[in-house]
């Protein structure tokens, strides 16, 4: 897993920005769900998008998993696609917390809502720190039967060049809910982000 494109300082800056965004998102989520969210430092890595399917194959190979994708667009060329992946049993845990009762809404709707909340609160936190603002497209669900994750990911990510893999583990009190978030960004956006990071670093 390389940090292609980012130097040490930029990487550190990006990690810090993401940590803070995670903190903001977790707090919002915790208040909304009326529970405590244990924060773990998300690990981030910049990888070539073609490597993504293999990376997740292992984790999701034998389970029923789902994938929700949502596009985001901001100023200064910051744009991409955010993908949230989870195991279905995890999704059921958080839906109970969101106040859904069994049979209340369709599974797809529940997944869409959760993903949208996780994605947009996190990305908004990110945008705030880089003095940007983002708009979002409606989330799309691509759930998968067992073992299908790899081909789903291939179809989704093949036309993006780079992927920023942010490994998030939300742990809710008394439950453990885990999901992976991947931010897929096109080549030009990486350059734009680097520029923004440099600008932030210059201030210090």
């Amino acid at each position: 897993m390389s940090t292609l494109g980012f130097n040490e300082e930029q990487r550190d800056c990006l990690q810090e920005i993401i940590n803070v965004a995670m903190g903001l998102a977790s707090d919002k989520l915790a208040r909304f769900l009326n529970t405590f969210v244990h924060l773990q430092v998300p690990s981030i890595a910049l990888v070539g998008a073609s490597h993504i399917p293999a990376e997740f194959e292992n984790r999701y190979q034998d389970t029923e998993a789902a994938l929700v994708s949502q596009g985001f667009f901001g100023n200064e060329g910051v744009r991409g696609e955010a993908i949230v992946l989870y195991q279905m049993e995890n999704a059921h845990k958080i839906s109970a917390l969101l106040g859904y009762e069994v049979g209340d809404v369709s599974e797809i709707e529940m997944l869409t809502d959760i993903s949208s909340i996780l994605t947009t609160t996190f990305l908004n936190g990110l945008a705030d720190q880089i003095e940007n603002s983002l708009s979002y497209s409606a989330p799309r669900v691509l759930s998968s039967a067992k073992g299908d994750m790899s081909s789903l990911l291939k179809n989704t990510s093949f036309h993006w060049e780079h992927a920023l893999k942010v490994d998030i583990s939300y742990q809710l009190i008394d439950h453990s809910f885990n999901c992976d978030m991947i931010l897929l960004i096109p080549g030009e956006a990486v350059t734009n982000i680097q520029r923004i990071l440099d600008r932030i670093l210059e201030e210090y």
Binding site: K28, L29, R31, F32, G99, D104, V105, S106, I108, E109, T112, D113, S116, I117, T120, T121, N124, S135, Y136, A138, P139
Partner: protein, 323 residues
């Protein structure tokens, strides 16, 4: 409650609905699209609750979604694929489905009013009816395609491939739950002669008629398929040998008594039937069960046709034809 920033000509021309409400669900604004489609005037509904102005909104669900927008300051979405519409608005395009309401994609966006810092929500409604109708057509086509994949084109019973798949599954199920399972194989007696006498059209006609007739004698759970040209199979779940033989004899008799009218000629046919029950120890593959039923069918032919024969336990070879 006056928002001059909402008087933009763009909003009045926009081909999507815009509704602005506050954190108590009171309407601050709706654009011309909504006024026209919902037959209302902004001046009449301003300040009223969204739920009193629009009939039949999914209140609990919508409130929860709107609250999340305010609490988290993030957008929420609803697609027509999950919920066909939120607001019951008629549309003007004719559609083949039973619905007369506009299919909608809705976005709920957080706003801050410039004057009062009061949190507002903008509900954006996009007409997705075209996509909805297209999807319905597509679904119908796919269902028909799938049916075609399973059906025998001529007789409309299950085609061989699908029928054999089902047989495998039924065997598996019967073994798993220790239920009995029986198989009937039958074919038309002297079908070649029939074809020679009435032509292939006559032959086809008979197959179609017979398949339909026999199908009507079966239970919903029985699986009726075309195994060969004039050969058919029936899978009888939860049925032991005695039951299967009884059913077969009834069918055999009914077929013999069934007159079919073709080109003003009356055609009668008879069938020979072989029956076998699943013996889990002996029948390890579905082929084994078929072979046993086939042996029984062969015996029925040899014994004079127009009859039912059941597989004799222990029989392993086709009996040689007695001259």
């Amino acid at each position: 409650m006056s928002h001059t920033w909402l008087n933009s000509p763009i909003l009045s021309q926009l081909n999507s609905g815009v509704i602005v409400i506050d954190d108590e669900y009171q309407i601050h604004y709706l654009n011309a699209f909504i006024e026209r489609h919902a037959s209302m005037q902004l001046s009449d509904v301003k300040g009223k609750s969204l739920f009193s102005v629009f009939a039949d909104l999914p209140e609990a669900w919508l409130k929860r979604k709107l609250m999340s927008v305010l609490d988290l300051n993030t957008p929420a979405f609803s697609s027509w694929e999950q919920r066909q519409y939120i607001f019951k608005l008629p549309h003007l395009r004719p559609i083949t489905s039973s619905s007369q309401y506009m299919a909608q994609n809705c976005s709920m966006l957080p706003l801050v009013s410039e004057q009062t810092e009061q949190p507002l929500i903008c509900i954006l409604i996009e007409d997705a009816t075209d996509a909805f109708v297209y999807q319905q057509h597509l679904s119908k086509t796919l269902i028909e395609l799938e049916k075609a994949n399973r059906q025998d084109g001529l007789t409309k019973v299950l085609n061989r491939r699908y029928w054999e798949e089902q047989l495998k599954q039924e065997i598996h199920r019967a073994q798993r739950y220790h239920h009995p399972l029986s198989l009937i194989l039958f074919d038309l007696d002297k079908f070649k002669d029939l074809n020679d006498k009435y032509g292939h059209l006559g032959g086809d006609f008979v197959l179609i008629q017979l398949a339909s007739f026999i199908g009507s004698l079966l239970r919903d759970s029985d699986l009726f398929g075309r195994y060969g040209g004039e050969e058919f199979g029936i899978i009888l779940p939860d049925t032991g040998l005695d039951g299967a033989v009884e059913v077969s004899e009834r069918i055999c008799q009914a077929v013999a008594d069934y007159p079919m009218l073709f080109n003003q000629q009356t055609i009668r046919v008879s069938i020979s039937m072989g029956v076998s029950e699943l013996l889990p120890k002996q029948h390890l593959l579905h082929d084994d069960l078929i072979r046993c039923a086939d042996m029984a069918l062969y015996n029925a032919k040899r014994a004079g046709r127009n009859r039912v024969c059941s597989y004799l336990a222990g029989e392993t070879e086709y009996q040689k034809k007695v001259n």
